[in-house]
């Protein structure tokens, strides 16, 4: 979370700082696009390097252990493994850009269609989690800052320390044990009851929207119930950072002169916090929430495994168990690109907020 604050602040200018920013002829948008593209290129380069350093031979994996030498050679040629490395990388890039990640070894389907099938589930889970996480996190952070040193502050501190320290897969297991097996409050793992799984038509891939559109109230309620537990577990992960940073940034603003002035003129503490401080720290808070959202997308890998949630994270872990290289790479690239995109969009949004405030 430290990272988040550093990112949101403009770098102080010093004489050693290169002057290329001023000299650059590019507009801010194209500069942003450039750095975004560079990051994606870097991501592609790293994943490509992994495949080439890997002990897994993609050609052998494609044809199987018992293939003849000639079949193996043909597969090598088809994958372009005889080409020099830069050519192979260009080929890899070209395929990734056109959404062709090859064929999954274990499902036998094109990886792209597997991802399209599983990604909405992950998005749904992460979105539900970030909504819960930021609602509770912001409330907790604001309450803790307003009652600094009080009971709520102590609770908030404990919750955030716990959230930073708890292994999320273990928390998920314990929640399943308690709320599903013992108390019977929550339905078991999965996304929908078997009863609805085949009667509700998957249109958007989002269980909540699909069940809502089907008009079956029971199905919608079932989807919501299945979503609740994994979303809460995942939200816990985000909540820690959000509440801690909200508290810290409010506290640092409370000492500022404009706050003292407002207080001196008779504004109540809650008015100062909600009317004066919150708009000022909106940029920081937005960054924190967006970064938490991005990290939830990757954190979903472990949560999905525990809750048998049929998202891209579980797809990835299943692929890992079988060493299914095309699937691992495709899923990593897609989730990684979303992560990078979210980060980049946050930078733009924060820059806009800062600009608006400067005016």
């Amino acid at each position: 979370m430290q990272k988040a604050v550093l990112r949101s602040l403009p770098e102080p200018h010093n004489s050693r700082q290169p002057r290329w920013r001023e000299l650059s002829l590019l507009g801010p948008l194209s500069k942003w696009l450039m750095s975004f593209a560079m990051t994606l290129l870097g991501l592609a380069l790293v994943t490509f390097a992994m495949t080439r350093l890997s002990p897994i031979d993609p050609a052998l994996q494609m044809v199987g252990d018992h293939a003849s030498q000639s079949t193996y050679q043909a597969a090598r040629l088809e994958l372009g493994l005889d080409q020099p490395l830069p050519v192979q990388f260009l080929r890899y890039l070209q395929q990734a850009v056109s959404g062709n990640f090859g064929q999954s070894i274990s499902t036998g389907q094109p990886v792209a269609s597997d991802i399209a099938r599983t990604f909405p589930a992950t998005l749904e889970l992460a979105t539900a989690a970030i909504i819960i996480g930021s609602l509770i996190g912001l409330t907790l952070g604001i309450a803790a800052a307003m009652r600094q040193g009080g009971l709520i502050d102590a609770i908030a501190r404990f919750v955030s320390l716990f959230g930073y320290s708890v292994p999320i897969f273990w928390l998920g297991l314990l929640m399943l044990l308690l709320f599903y097996a013992r108390l019977h409050w929550a339905p078991g793992p999965g996304r929908l009851d078997v009863m609805f799984q085949y009667t509700v038509k998957p249109v958007t891939g989002f269980a909540l929207i699909d069940t809502w559109m089907s008009g079956k109230a029971g199905a919608f309620r079932d989807a919501l119930a299945h979503l609740a537990l994994p979303a809460i577990v995942l939200a816990f992960h985000a909540l820690a950072g959000i509440s801690r940073l909200t508290r810290a940034s409010i506290l640092s603003e409370l000492g500022q002169e404009y706050v003292l002035t407002a207080r001196a003129k008779g504004a109540s503490l809650s008015r100062v916090v909600f009317v004066h401080i919150l708009p000022n720290i909106a940029g920081t808070l937005l960054t924190v929430i967006a970064l938490a959202y991005a990290s939830l997308l990757e954190g979903a890998v472990l949560t999905e495994t525990v809750f048998a949630w049929p998202g891209i994270g579980r797809y990835l872990t299943t692929a890992m168990f079988s060493g299914d290289m095309p699937a691992i790479l495709g899923a990593t690239l897609v989730v990684g690109s979303c992560f990078v995109l979210l980060n980049a969009l946050t930078d733009v949004a924060v820059a806009r907020i800062h600009k608006g405030q400067a005016r």
Binding site: W20, S54, L161, S295, T317, A319, M325, G336
Partner: protein
């Protein structure tokens, strides 16, 4: 002046006063020391061999003989828990040894040399910084093969940029100082200047940063173990012990609960330690 000097206290006393004022630092340090102790003296502390299988006694509830019960292979969970501290701490150590020198060196070089070197190094740092850490680590280990060293490599690969940034910012500040000008004037240059004079001043903040990162590294390592990407069985490792307990979570819940709790406590200890260190070193940070 004389009034001030009479107030001076010995460094040991100063440390004691500071420690007693920061309960989180002492608690955190105590937890880490206990875990460290467990890891080092595991053979003497563990009541059983952690890999000894007694199929007759499988899935036993906690009892006099087996304080925390036994797992699906009849192995004593307490012994595995004690031995499990070893790979966890070893992996953390590897990650630290790999990432901190790389990050700090890059940062110092960029901050001191400036110009084109700084621009390109920082560009690379920014790029790696916005990579998805956990995801790339999982993918890396899945593709390169499981194991302690690969896990450490995977985590180090994406966690050095924070150190590089910090070291660069501090070195750039130092580069304009009289301190370095004086060092340069007496003819100190090259690596000796960078590592003899810049590094010691950059190190303290890097240590705090490290303490903050350690709990995250422990959780990531446990995640790797849980996904079966950590050390190979039958070596005891907390993350994979939780995974072993997943199958029987509804009946023999303690098998998954205890190693997870060990992860929680260790990570909690590092977090407390980092919090305390930050308070100790930086009085502004309330």
């Amino acid at each position: 002046m004389s009034a001030l000097t009479t107030l001076q206290i010995s460094p040991a006393r100063w440390l004691y006063l500071r420690l007693s004022r920061s309960p989180s630092l002492t608690t955190g340090a105590a937890i880490i020391l206990i875990v460290l102790f467990m890891a080092i003296f595991a053979p003497w502390l563990a009541p059983y061999d952690p890999t000894l299988q007694e199929t007759a006694n499988r899935l036993m509830a906690p009892s006099q003989q087996h304080w925390l019960g036994t797992d699906a292979f009849g192995r004593d969970i307490l012994s595995r828990l004690i031995y499990g501290a070893r790979p966890t701490l070893l992996l953390v150590l590897f990650v630290v040894l790999l990432m901190a020198p790389v990050g700090i060196t890059i940062g110092i070089l960029a901050g001191y040399l400036g110009g084109f070197v700084e621009r390109s190094l920082m560009r690379i740092t920014d790029i790696v910084m916005s990579f998805p850490r956990l995801l790339l680590a999982f993918a890396f280990v899945a593709i390169m093969g499981p194991g302690l060293l690969n896990g450490a490599l995977a985590l180090a690969l994406t966690s050095w940029p924070a150190y590089a940034r910090q070291a660069r910012a501090e070195t750039a500040k130092l580069a304009k100082s009289d301190y370095l000008a004086a060092a340069e004037m007496v003819g100190i240059k090259g690596p000796r200047l960078l590592f003899g004079h810049v590094l010691p001043l950059v190190l303290p903040s890097a240590v705090i940063r490290l303490a903050l990162d350690l709990s995250g590294i422990i959780l990531a390592a446990a995640g790797l173990g849980f996904l079966g990407l950590g050390v190979r069985p039958p070596t005891a490792e907390w993350g994979s012990m939780v995974a072993d307990g997943t199958q029987v979570i509804f009946d023999q819940w303690w098998i998954a609960a205890t190693p997870g709790f060990a992860i929680l406590i260790t990570s909690f200890g590092f977090n407390l330690l980092a919090d305390g260190l930050r308070d100790l070193m930086d009085p502004r940070n309330d």
